[in-house]
Symmetry: D2
Subunit: 383 residues, 4 copies
Amino acid sequence: MYQPAGVKTSPDLPIPNQMKAWVLDDPDHLSLREKPVPVPTRAEVLVRIDAVAICATDLEIIHTGSPASIQGGLPFNKNFTPGHEYMGTVAALGPDVDEFTIGERISVEIHAGCGQCKRCRQGMYTSCLNYGKPEKGHRANGFTTDGGFAEYAVNHINTLARVPDTMSDAEATLVVTAGTSMYGLTELGGLVAGESVVVIGPGPIGLLAVAVAKALGASPVILTGTRNKRLAIGQELGADRVININDEDPVEVVKQLTGIGADYVVECAGSETTINQAIHMTNRGGKICLAAFPHDPVTMDLAHLVKNNIYAYGIRGEGRSATRRAMALMAEKRFDATKIHTHTFPLGDLPTALRYARERVDDAIKVVVTNRQASSIANVAAE
Amino acid sequence: MYQPAGVKTSPDLPIPNQMKAWVLDDPDHLSLREKPVPVPTRAEVLVRIDAVAICATDLEIIHTGSPASIQGGLPFNKNFTPGHEYMGTVAALGPDVDEFTIGERISVEIHAGCGQCKRCRQGMYTSCLNYGKPEKGHRANGFTTDGGFAEYAVNHINTLARVPDTMSDAEATLVVTAGTSMYGLTELGGLVAGESVVVIGPGPIGLLAVAVAKALGASPVILTGTRNKRLAIGQELGADRVININDEDPVEVVKQLTGIGADYVVECAGSETTINQAIHMTNRGGKICLAAFPHDPVTMDLAHLVKNNIYAYGIRGEGRSATRRAMALMAEKRFDATKIHTHTFPLGDLPTALRYARERVDDAIKVVVTNRQASSIANVAAE
Amino acid sequence: MYQPAGVKTSPDLPIPNQMKAWVLDDPDHLSLREKPVPVPTRAEVLVRIDAVAICATDLEIIHTGSPASIQGGLPFNKNFTPGHEYMGTVAALGPDVDEFTIGERISVEIHAGCGQCKRCRQGMYTSCLNYGKPEKGHRANGFTTDGGFAEYAVNHINTLARVPDTMSDAEATLVVTAGTSMYGLTELGGLVAGESVVVIGPGPIGLLAVAVAKALGASPVILTGTRNKRLAIGQELGADRVININDEDPVEVVKQLTGIGADYVVECAGSETTINQAIHMTNRGGKICLAAFPHDPVTMDLAHLVKNNIYAYGIRGEGRSATRRAMALMAEKRFDATKIHTHTFPLGDLPTALRYARERVDDAIKVVVTNRQASSIANVAAE
Amino acid sequence: MYQPAGVKTSPDLPIPNQMKAWVLDDPDHLSLREKPVPVPTRAEVLVRIDAVAICATDLEIIHTGSPASIQGGLPFNKNFTPGHEYMGTVAALGPDVDEFTIGERISVEIHAGCGQCKRCRQGMYTSCLNYGKPEKGHRANGFTTDGGFAEYAVNHINTLARVPDTMSDAEATLVVTAGTSMYGLTELGGLVAGESVVVIGPGPIGLLAVAVAKALGASPVILTGTRNKRLAIGQELGADRVININDEDPVEVVKQLTGIGADYVVECAGSETTINQAIHMTNRGGKICLAAFPHDPVTMDLAHLVKNNIYAYGIRGEGRSATRRAMALMAEKRFDATKIHTHTFPLGDLPTALRYARERVDDAIKVVVTNRQASSIANVAAE
C-alpha cells in the first residue's frame, strides 16, 4: 500500500502504489502505462483524478511538444503524462498540509509558480520566471510536470478549488477554461458591468468568456465567429448579439451597436484577420485581451492601436486566482458551462476522445474523459 | 486694446487685438499672418507664447495633416496654426479662473479632454472620445485647435504647469516631451526604481525617457539606437549601457545584462525591427510601452508576446498629469533636459527651424523657436 | 413657453416657465413654491423629475444643513431645493448636447465634478476639489445645487444613466443607492467573486450592498444588524448568513464562517461599536469600506488595523461611474432592489413622506415620492 | 566543520558548527549563548551577519514579546534571537539555490511569506495568512524566527537584496528602514513626483520617508515633529519645510503651503494627536499611510475622513519588494541614509547598544551593531 513517509493518507481512500497513466511516446502517440503513484511534498496533495477535459493545447503538446516543453527539451519518450483540465478527489496530504482534507472534491488550475521569483513574488504566478524548473518549485501539470491523463497526480495546494456537491465531475473540469476567461476579463480591469465586451472566436474559452462577461453584468456582450452552431451556443450563454463574420463586417456592427467601439475585446480566435478586427473595433482607451495567437508572425495595424491609446494584454492561462472566482460563479449557477460539454469517454478511450476533439467529430466542443473504467483497470492491476 | 467681456487682463501685460501667427496653407507651406488674439472662456487662460519646440509630429502635421486632423478634414488652408510644445506667460484669465495669475510663466501639455465623455470621466483625458470636437470642450492645441507657432494661444487650465524662475524658456518647452516619457513610464506601472528599463530609439522622447527612468531609480537603464552621437547623449542623460544595434544584437545584450530580459521597454523608434526586438527582449510578465509606430502595418511575433504574458501599451501624448510630474523632476534639476536642445531660432524664422528639425541639419535634435523677434514684429504690426 | 436661447426643446414635451419646487426655509421646514424652470448650459440637460427617493442624508440636510452646505453657508432660507435620488425624463438639451435625446428616461447620480481640478482630472469626481463651487462647474444636486424635490432640475450629462423600459420609475430611483453600494465594492477592488464580504448595517446602502456583492459572485455574503425584519430582507437579497449582533458576536461568527476573517467589509452602520467590529473581523491584508460614520469622534483599535495591514476607504457617494454599473445589473434583473422600497407618496405630500422616512413609520425603508400629482398642480399653476 | 547535506559551502568562507547568538531570556534580558549554525533548505541561504541596526520594534519585542510572538506564545526563554535590520555575506546555499553566490554581500527584508496562502499568492507577502507558522514556510526573522543579533541566520532568497561594493555595512543595514518608507509611498500610489507629501514624526522611518519622497520627486516634502535636531536632519535629507508642532499648527501650515491640503501623509508618530492631524491636513481624495500606531485605542475624526474620501492604509514592514527599490535609490546615492546612523557598537556590546537606542543616549537615532568583535569571540569559542 501507498504510504510514503510524511504523507497523510486515509483508510477510507486506499491508494495503490502503481497507477495507470497515459504517456507521450512519439508525436501524436500515447500509451497507457503503469507508473508509481507520485508523492506530494510540502504544500502539495495527491489528487485522484475523476475527470479530465481535453483542451486544444493538449492536442498541440501531443503533436509538437510546444508551447511549453518539459525540462531538457521536447516531452516525447520521457514518460511524460499530458492533460491539464482535470478534477478529482484529494487522496493524500503532503507534510503539514491542513488546508484540505482527504475526500474533498477539487478542480485544478494549471500553474503553480515557484513562489520565489520576481513575478511570483508580485502575485503573477502564471508568469513565473522559473517556468519549467520543478526543482525551483514550479509546476505546470500537463505542460512541464505530469498531468491529468492518469489515475493520480500531485498538485500544489495553490492550484486547487473546492467543488460543491451540486456540481458534476464533468462540469468541474470546465472550471479551468472558465478560469482562463475570467482571467482575461480580470486583466482587462474586471469592472465590466455596463461595459461593452466583444468576444472573438466561439471556442471553449470564447464561449465561456461570453458567459462570464454576462454574469458580471457586461452589456452588451457581442460574440463573433464563423460557425452559426457555435454562435447559437454563445447566445444561450448570454451573448446579446452574435456576428457571423462571413455575413457581416464585425467592425462596422460593433461600432453601430456601441456608438464608440467596444470597451473590451477578448480575442480568442488568434488569426491575423481577427486580431486586426479587434484593433479596429476597440474604442479609444479601450483594451484587448489576446487569449489566442497564430504561431506565425502577424501583420497588425499597430498605428491604429497606438494612436488610439489601446492596451493589449497577452494572457497565458488563468492567473490571479481567476479559477476560484470562476468556480464561485459556477457554484452559484450564474451560467451553465456544460453547454460547451459535448462528449464523454472513459479514460481508457483517450485516443478516441482526442480524435473527437481534434477533428471536431460530431461538432465536438469540449470532450471529457472520466476515470471510472480506468479505475477498475487500475484496481485489477493493483491486486 | 484686447479686453473681451468676462476676461481678466492686467495693465502690466497689455495685449494687442491682433497677433502674428503662422498658418498652414498647403502641405509643407506656412505663412505668417495676422489673426485676432483668441479669447479664453471658462477654465481657460490666454497664454503669451515665449518659446516653442519643434516635434516630429509637427513636421508630420505640416506635411500630411495627420495624425489628427482638425474638424472637417485636413488642416490645410483653414487658417490653422500648428505647434504644440510651447511655454509662455499667462496673459489673461477666462471667467472665474483663479487657479493662475497673470504674469505667471507656464508650460503646456497638449490634451484638454472634454471632461464629459466616458474616458475623461475616468481620468483618461488623452483618450477623450470627443477628440477633435471643440464644441464638446476638447482641445489639442496644434493638433485640432490652434497651437503655438504664434504670439498667443488659449489653453485650458488643466494643460498648464508652472515654470520655476530657475528654468529657462527653452528648457521649459522640453517639459512636453519629458511628460510624454514620464507618461510612458507611468503606464508601465511607475515603480521603476531597481527595475530594468530599455529605451529603444534615441529621439527626443527616448532620450528623455532615459533621463526620467534614471531619475526615478531604474537600474539598469539601457538605450538602443543606431547613431553613436545620440547614444552618447543618452549616456550623459543616465543610460547605464548603450547599444548600437548595428554593432550588437540588442536582444542578446539585454538578456545578458538583465539575466531574465527587461522588465520594461519603451519603444520610441517605431520600426518593425525594433518593435520585434522589444517583444523579444522583454521578460515574462514584463511590459512594453509603444510610444512610436510605423504608419504601415507591422509584422510582429505576437505569439511570443502572448506566450510570455507581455503587456503592450500604446500611448499617445502625455496623460495622467505626467507633464506636471516631469516638471517636478526638472524643477529639482534631476536631469538636464537641455542636453537635447541643439538649436534656437526666432519665431520669424520658423521655416528655417522646421528645416533644421526635418533634415537634422547639424545633428539637430530639439530645435526651439523663441518669440522675442516675432514679438517686436507683432508690436510694429499692431501699431 | 420655456425656450431659452441655445437650448433644444421638443413640442412633444412642452415645458412651462415656472415649476413647483419644495424649498428649505428654516431647519426641518420646507415650502412648496414656484420657481423658474432652470436652464441647462454646455453638457447639461433639463430633467423632468418623475420620481425621487428619500435618503437619510436628505433628512440630515433638511435638519442641520450638513454634511455639505451650499455656497455661502447653510442652505436655509436661500430658496434651496433638496432631494438627490431622482429619476425622470430628458426634457431639454443644453447647447451641443447630443449624447441624450428628449424623452429618454434617465436616473441620476449626485456628483458632477468641475472637470478641471486635480481630482476630477484623475477621474475622482466625487472628490472634486471645487466641491460647492458651481461657478467652477461643480454640481451636487440636492447638496450644493438645486435637487429633486421639484418638477425639473438641471443635470450634467455625466450624471445620467439610461433607464430601460422594463424598469419602473420607483425602481429607477433606487439606482442612486445601488450605485453607492457598487462604488463601495469598486473601491474595495471590485473582484469580489468567490471572496467573503460582510456588510454591516441593513439600511438601504447596506441591503443593496448585499445584493450587488451577491450579484458579482461574492461568497459568502454576510449581513449584520440588529433588526430581524431588515436582516430577513437582506436574506431575500442574497445574504448567505445574517447575524443579529444582539444575539451573536459578529466577529466570532465571521471568523468561524470564513476561517481567516472577512476579505472585505462594507461598514454602513457608522457606530463606534460596528466600526471596531469591522476592524476585528477583517483578515490580514483585507479591506474595509467606510460608507457611514458617526459625527462624533470614534475610538478605534487602530493598532489592530495597522498590524494587520488592513486598508480603510472612506467613500462619499457613488464615484467611478458605479451608478451606471449598478444600473447594468438592475437592468438585467440580477437583484430586486424594490425589496427595499416600502412606501410611495405624491410630491405634494413630501412632508408626510419625509416623516415616514425619518420616523421609520410602518417599518419604512425607502420612501419614494412621485411627481404625478405635483405635475397636475404645476400644470394648473402654469396656466 | 559545517557541511549539512544538500547545502553548498565554499572553502573561502569556512563556517563553524556553533555560533554566538544573543537569546532572549526574561523580558529585557538577553544572554550571549552558543547555538548551532542554522541550516538553509530550499530557496534559502545562510547569511553571515556583518552588521545589524536596532529598531524600536526590537526594543518592544525584547520588552513585551509583542507585536508578533513566536509560535506557542511569548518569545521569552525559548532560545529566541531577536534582531531584524541586518546585512551580511552569503555563506552557504540551500539545495538548488543559484540566485546568489557565496561571498555576495546582501541586506535583508523581514518577511518571507509562506507562498501558499491567499495573500502570498496575491503578492502581499507581508500580510501572509500563515504568519508565525514556519512549518508552512513563513519566516519573519527577528519576529517569529531567529533574527540578526547573532553570527549567522537563515534567510529566504526572497528577502535578500544585493549590496553594492560602494556601500558600507552600516549603511546597508538602513535599507530595511528605507524599504519600509518606500513601501509606505508605494501603497500611497508611488507616483509622488510633483505631489505634496507630509511626513509626521522624524523617527528613522519618517526621516527616510522624507529622503525617499524627495528622491522620487515629491514637492513639497514637509516634515513635522517636536525635536528641532531631528527636524534639521530631515531638512538635510530633503524636507522643503519642517514644522515643529510645538511652535506651529501643522494643519494650518500644510494647508497654506499646499492650498488644498496634502496629497499624501505618511504618519510615523503614532499618537492620537498626530493621527488626527494627518486626517485634517489631507486633501479631498488624498491618502494617509499609517506606519505607526499607539497600542491603546485612538479617538479619531472618522467623519472628516469619510466625508473627504480619504484613504487610510495600515502598513506593516516593507512589502512589494520595496526594500529592493529603496536599495536601488541608495545604490545610486540619491540620498544619504547614513545621516540617521548615529552610533556603532560591537555585537558583544549589544546591551549597551540597546540602551543607547532605548534611552536615546547622546541623541541616538539609529544604533548599529557590527559583528567583527563578536566574530573573533566566536572564533575563539569554536576552537
